[in-house]
C-alpha cells in the first residue's frame, strides 16, 4: 500500500481566521495522496469543513480575515494569483452535508456543470448523465424519471444525485462534507460502497459524520481539534492504536 503513493494535495502550514472570529485553522500541514480516502475527523468546530472549503476555494465567498500558508494541488499553489478558480472548482468537486439539488430536473442537475463548462452536444451530455448516475449507484432507480424535479426523489437519492452531479464534472478530487449526515443506513451503505469504486479514479477527502464511518472507509485519517491537526496516520493505526492521548480519548468516546 505504501508503494506507489503520489501526493495529490499538499497543505503547508495553513492558518486561517474568519472576520467574525469563528472557526479557524492553526498551522495545518497535511499531505493527501492520490486514490486514497482521507478522512478528516474530530469534534464540531475543529476546522474540518473550513479546510474542505479552503481546498476548492469556496471560502472565497465568505469574508476571511487572514490566511497564511500554502495549498498545493499537483505541486501548484491554488492560491497563486494566476489560478483560474472556476477551473479549480471543477477539479475539486464538493458534496455538502445536506442534499442540495438545484431547482431543475434530475437530468439538468447533472448536466449543469458540464454545460457551464461549454459542453453542448446532446449525445455527449446524455452519456455523462448515464455514467454519472451509474457511478453514484442510482441509474436504475431514476433512469425513467430523468425529467422529474431533483426535489421529487427521496433524501437519500437526492444526495446521490448530488454525488453524481459532482462526478459529471470529471473532477480529480471529491470533497465530502458529512455527506451522509441526514441519510438512512441503507443510503449511507450505498454511498460508502460506491466510494470504494470511486477512489480507483478519484482522490477523496471526506469529513465523516461518525468515527465508525471514518474507521470503515478511511485509508488515511487526520484528527482535528479546535483548528489544530493533532495526529494523522493510516486509518487502521489511527483508530486502533493512536499515538496522541487526545486522539485516543476521542476515538474511544471519552469526549466528543
Amino acid at each position: 500500500m505504501l508503494m506507489n503513493r503520489t501526493p495529490k494535495i499538499v497543505i503547508e502550514n495553513l492558518s486561517l481566521r474568519y472576520s467574525d472570529g469563528t472557526e479557524s485553522l492553526n498551522g495545518i500541514s497535511l499531505t493527501i495522496y492520490a486514490h486514497e480516502i482521507m478522512a478528516l475527523f474530530g469534534p464540531a468546530g475543529g476546522g474540518k469543513s473550513t479546510l474542505l472549503r479552503v481546498l476548492n476555494r469556496l471560502n472565497d465567498l465568505v469574508e476571511v480575515k487572514k490566511m497564511t500558508g500554502r495549498v498545493l494541488l499537483d505541486g501548484q499553489d491554488i492560491y497563486a494569483p494566476d489560478v483560474n478558480v472556476i477551473e479549480l472548482r471543477r477539479r475539486m468537486g464538493i458534496v455538502f452535508a445536506q442534499p442540495l439539488p438545484l431547482p431543475l430536473s434530475i437530468r439538468a442537475n447533472i448536466e449543469y456543470g458540464p454545460r457551464l463548462a461549454g459542453i453542448r452536444d446532446s449525445s455527449q451530455l446524455s452519456h455523462i448523465v448515464e455514467s454519472s448516475l451509474r457511478a453514484a449507484a442510482m441509474w436504475d432507480e431514476v433512469k425513467d424519471r430523468l425529467d422529474e424535479s431533483g426535489f421529487a426523489i427521496s433524501g437519500g437519492q437526492q444526495q446521490r444525485l448530488c454525488l453524481a452531479r459532482v462526478l459529471a464534472l470529471e473532477p480529480e478530487v471529491i470533497l465530502m462534507d458529512e455527506p451522509m449526515s441526514g441519510l438512512d443506513p441503507l443510503s449511507t451503505a450505498k454511498i460508502e460502497d460506491s466510494m470504494q469504486q470511486l477512489k480507483q479514479q478519484y482522490t477523496i477527502v471526506i469529513v465523516p459524520h461518525s468515527i465508525q464511518q471514518a474507521a470503515r472507509i478511511a485509508d488515511h485519517a487526520a484528527f482535528f481539534l479546535q483548528g489544530k491537526l493533532i495526529e494523522e496516520g493510516p486509518g487502521k493505526q489511527l483508530f486502533t492504536n493512536p499515538h496522541d492521548k487526545r486522539t485516543e480519548d476521542y476515538v474511544t468516546g471519552r469526549f466528543g
Partner: protein, 281 residues
Amino acid sequence: MSRFLTQRLGFTFLAIVAILVVLPIILVVGAIVIQGLPAINVEFLTTAPRDGMRAGGIWPAIVGTFWLTVGTAIFSVPFGVAIAIYLSEYARDNNFTRMIRLAIINLSGIPSVVYGLFGLGLFVLALRFGSSILAGALTLSIMTLPVIISTSEEALHSVPQSFRTVSVSLGGTKWQTIYKIVLPQALPGILTGVILGLERAAGETAPILFTAAAFFLPELPGSIFDKTMALPYHLFVISTQVPNMPIKIQFGTALVLLVFVLTMNLLAAVIRSYYRRKRQW
C-alpha cells in the same frame, strides 16, 4: 376585571378595527361600481368624447394610459431589475452602496407632483421631448423605480444562498449562477413587484400632468412624441374643469380606471400563487 374579560375586550376591539379597515374599500368600490356601471357600454369604451366631453366615450384615454404604462415598463423594468441584481448579488456593504440605497429610499418618498415638475424640466424642456408619451413614461419610470428595485431585491434575497454555493461549487461563474439559477427562481417575485409598480404608475395624475397629458384630444397618439389623453387625468378634468358633467360619465371613467388597476393587481396575485405552488424549496 378578570384577565379573561380583558382578553375578550381586547380581541373584540381588534376585530372591530380590522372590520373598519375593510369598510372604506367596500364603500369606495361599491359607490364607483353602482354609479359607474350604467355608463359602461360599447360606445363609452370605444369612441372619443363628444359635446365638450359630456357625452361619447373615453377610448383615447384608455389607449393613452395603456401606452404610458407600456412605456413605463420598457424603461423602468430593465433598469430596476439590473439595479436590484447589482445591489443584491454584487454590491458590497460600503459607503457607495449605502449612498445608492439612501437615494432609492428618498426617491420613494418624493411626492408625485414633484416628479411631474422634474419631468417637465428635464424631459419636456431640457431634452425637448415636449409634452409627450415619451416624457410621461420616463417621468413615471423614475417614480416607479424604487418600487421595482426594492421588490426585485427582496425576490432575489428569497432565493436560498445554498443554490448559489452549489452553482459556484460546480464551476459556475457568478454571472452564470445569477442568470441560470437565481434570476429564474426570483422571476415570479420580480414580476409581482413590477406589476404592482406599474399599477401605481397607471393610476397617477400628477407626474403626467405637465409631461404627457392632454386636456382634450380626440385623436389617438400617432407616435411617442405625441401628447395623449390618460384615464387619471381625464377623470380629474371631467370632475373639476367641465360644468354640467353627467355624473355617470365621471363614475364610469373611475370604474374603467379601477378595473384596469385591479386587473393588474389580480394578475400579480395569480402569478404569485401559481409559482408559489410550483416552487420546490
